[in-house]
Symmetry: C2
Subunit: 274 residues, 2 copies
């Protein structure tokens, strides 16, 4: 596994790695924070899945997660959002399509299908890599994410409720098949969208791990793209007890995410500790 950097931080090690990926056919970079621990110990894992235009680095630099991960003894894994490199097709000048906008799907259309295989990468390949290379207990995993990554966290957890003890999200896209970002990104085969849409998965009867969502009321994307109400209604209609909090005056940025990061980690730690 190619080590890009390993730096001491908050009594642990913040690492960045970039091994070759079978799923995407590219090098895939990810960040892992491992707090200091008793030799031989295996720690629970919290996944953080990022939003449009982001890499592994955004949350690593701006997310303010290390203090709480060190306190609760959690490993945090932050994958990149898409495959990168000159061979990977892109939609130039579009932040919400092509590079920057993987939406955690396995693409089926050309020219995307060869490299854009973020679902396989995340759920299988990276999961195996983390198991092999870090002091983790994969019986204890939770997942969180932001915006497009909130969509990622929700859909991964709803498809794999036995794998994740809890799921949370910051300003998630909850129903991509109903909003412009998703309509644009999810391709022509609308039937295939069902498993990439949290609200649809819930309506289709998915089991949901304990769920926490924070959404800023001053988020410019709330009305058109995020539509948190759809998640609130779907949870209600399907008797899923979720904690979905509207946070007054907060926007879509890491100034918002970092504010509530410690609370999310503490919340996940309750499910991961035993």
């Amino acid at each position: 596994m190619r080590i890009i950097s390993e730096v001491r931080s908050f009594g642990g090690v913040q690492g960045v790695y970039s091994p070759k990926s079978e799923s995407t056919g590219t090098d895939m970079t990810f960040a892992v924070f491992v707090p200091d621990h008793v030799p031989g110990a295996r720690l629970p894992v919290l996944w953080y899945v990022s939003g449009l235009t982001c890499t592994h680095a955004n949350v690593m630099v701006k997310g303010e997660y290390r203090a709480a991960c060190a306190e609760y003894g959690l490993v945090l894994v932050a994958p990149d959002t898409i495959p990168r490199g000159d061979d990977v097709p892109d939609a130039e000048d579009e932040y919400d399509f092509g590079k920057g906008a993987g939406f955690y799907v396995d693409a089926t259309e050309q020219p995307w299908a060869e490299h854009y295989r973020m679902r396989s990468y995340l759920e299988q390949e990276l999961s195996a890599l983390i198991t092999e290379n870090f002091p983790v207990d994969m019986e204890r995993q939770s997942i969180t994410g932001h915006s497009m990554g909130g969509h990622g966290a929700l859909t991964v957890a709803l498809r794999n409720p036995e794998t994740f003890r809890s799921v949370s999200a910051f300003s998630p896209i909850v129903a991509p098949s109903q909003v412009p970002w998703g309509e644009k990104a999810l391709g022509r085969d609308r039937a295939a969208w069902r498993e990439y849409d949290a609200v649809t998965l819930i309506k289709d009867g998915a089991n949901c791990p304990p769920l926490l969502v924070d959404q800023g009321t001053a988020d410019d994307f709330l009305e058109e793209q995020l539509q948190t109400d759809r998640l609130i209604e779907a949870c209600k209609a399907n008797s899923i007890s979720a904690e979905i909090r509207m946070q007054d005056g907060y926007d879509h940025s890491y100034f918002f995410i970092s504010t509530f990061m410690t609370e999310h980690i503490a919340w996940h730690a309750r499910f991961l500790s035993a």
Copy 2:
């Protein structure tokens, strides 16, 4: 005062402002975090002075200070490190001279003397701006900084011990007149260097507010540029009781700074609270 942005974060407002500066003849950008407070209250101020190549934004994005500032009710002010703009002379391709390397001096040589007036800007002009425009109690100020900004914090505090109740630094340049960075930046008039050198100011008998320093042992600049031992010796020889801590395995980056930021803020808060 020109507002660049004001964003809700950690129950307060993170603002960025860029008014015209009389001192430098340019627009000067700075960041201010104001935690929520009782209307009419005036809060203590902690200054954070940044290092080589930095702007106001580095600590704002990576410093992880807002949680502790909100907890202790402190306003944090982060100035830029130099004047900017096409009119400002620069030394191209040199990260440690010209733009990026103001060293918090008032330059006296050409072509620098017109714009590089960071001492006057910081100690007088910005201080007055903060007094006028924010809910602050300027009777309660402390100062901290990183690297070149650690040098800035130490020298500003040692020259103005009646203004600052406490001073701290992360990996500071403690004796610029003895190391390559300072030799390069401080100009030809070596006699003028005395008041821009923390160790010299201490040897010359300056009063020192309570002092806390954190320095990583894995910092690549420690041996050649930082030389923390010189500060330890100067404090000892002049009976200044400083807390200077070598932090095992930490480097020069914000992964280090953010680790100890909360401790620094809590330490300053002890002096600022009364």
